[in-house]
Symmetry: C2
Amino acid sequence: MKMVLTGPKRLEVQESGDFENSPAGYALVRVLCCAICRTDAKMWSEGHRDLVLPRVPGHEMVVVDDWQRRYVVWPGDSCGNCRFCVAGRENLCEVMQITGFHRDGGFADRVIVPQTSLLPIPETMSVVTACLAEPLGCVLHALEIGHISSSDRVLVYGGGTLGLLTALAAKTAGARPVVIEKNPKKIKIADGFLKKTEIVCLQETSENDFDLVVNACPDETAFQKGLAKVDKGGRFLFFSGLAKNRMIETGLIDLVHYREITLSGAYGLTRENMRRAVYFMESHQDAVKYLIEAVVPPERAPRLMPRVLAGGGFKYVLDFTGSFVNTE
Amino acid sequence: MKMVLTGPKRLEVQESGDFENSPAGYALVRVLCCAICRTDAKMWSEGHRDLVLPRVPGHEMVVVDDWQRRYVVWPGDSCGNCRFCVAGRENLCEVMQITGFHRDGGFADRVIVPQTSLLPIPETMSVVTACLAEPLGCVLHALEIGHISSSDRVLVYGGGTLGLLTALAAKTAGARPVVIEKNPKKIKIADGFLKKTEIVCLQETSENDFDLVVNACPDETAFQKGLAKVDKGGRFLFFSGLAKNRMIETGLIDLVHYREITLSGAYGLTRENMRRAVYFMESHQDAVKYLIEAVVPPERAPRLMPRVLAGGGFKYVLDFTGSFVNTE
């Protein structure tokens, strides 16, 4: 079975049917679990100019091959030859194809993916938490772009999955992170994670002069507050795209000039980021498991989309085997 | 004599009077020439929240001491002890005092400046062009922040003094600069400089994907156009503050995120930047002299302010000796 996006807010259950032989360099693998990303919910709600329907979404998956080897899947398919790929910035590849976007993804019991995008996971690793290797890889990529250092005081806006993973990775790098989440309900549901990791999450802070500020939410108000809280000579990591059609005043943008801030954009992840995420995840499973809201049958995906879009909770994971639901 | 800013748009000629003994670490020196900066004109027009009147403006000066040694003056007075000074970022000093702003500046026949801010100039150097060492130092500082490299295709918005100096410094670093100036009259008066330096200045370009884009003008439209012309993974050097109270749409700011652009703010200059500017200037005097619009008696400063504010021409230099007017 597969979940197919056939039109705006129409995500339908269909039979997988027969797969053609996968082309050279690609593998047909079985999907164990696939998490729902907010991007999936945005595609469901608004579409995207490059998205051609029908399409099977999903790019945060754990798969298994015919020899029972388990993998996470780097969602990119890069050319390896363009100036970005050669420079090690394959996430910017000139002809990038993304699984679950340019081609069918992991909201299905089977998927065809590039063989070189299959990244093995250790046997000790939970399949469900491994679904977070992709967002965590994005976090590691972003912190690399933001030149995280062990002396950094870090402020993260957004206490969702990405914000909390950012704080965890920053803390693991030796930095001192604080997370700002304006919704007290979200802080409450993060309780298990926060206790386990000893990370502080507040609704607001009066502190200033952070070495590194990260926006892990699309709220343009958080973006503006964050800019004002960067130390002179400090860094702002532009990790989440902003809500559309909002206006920002030049006086605010000018802070970057007058305070010699470095504002760095981070988008996506490389294979290497995802490889590192797998190993990071392995030693942080006990904390990361709190970021799984629920493991559910795939058929529940359509009903979950509005909730994922609203960003009220953590990760929903679709289970295509029936064996993980409620077990982790 | 001195030119004193006594109120909004009031710049008056006054007698210098007696100077108190300069405090330890400071020197009383004679001013030979002082150029008018657009910041001086803005202070004249709008004031500034930290500016206490009356004040003698001017921070782009060449001075001479009692032993006839000539110097340019780094306009900063930094503490040397704060975290920024110790890190070599003295332009961000926590208790920075700026000559011509926090204390009286170079629109006078005499001025008191920190002894450590006096930077000697070679005997072969023109006093008039040496007045440009300060803006050129800002340019060198900015290009350092923007990680200029010899392989860079560089796009500079703004064909004024700073924009053209930026292009010249970028070209000298081995990069390939193009300057965009929307005012055809300004391109015309830059003719001598452009021919001498073989730098291209256009009203617009259809080219894209520049490695480094620099805004050397406060126009927020240029800022937005420039952002859209940065290559994926490229750099935007935020060199000029923007016009106030203008709005920029989040979709435009998002380019920094989606294209992994690094937007770096550059503000002011260090002593070392200014030292390097002196030597750079020495070997480029033949080109830089074209950026001197006129050498004039100080009394003409009030009438020139509206023109400097409008940014229509190049540099006006006030001559406090009477010996440089019309001679260079």
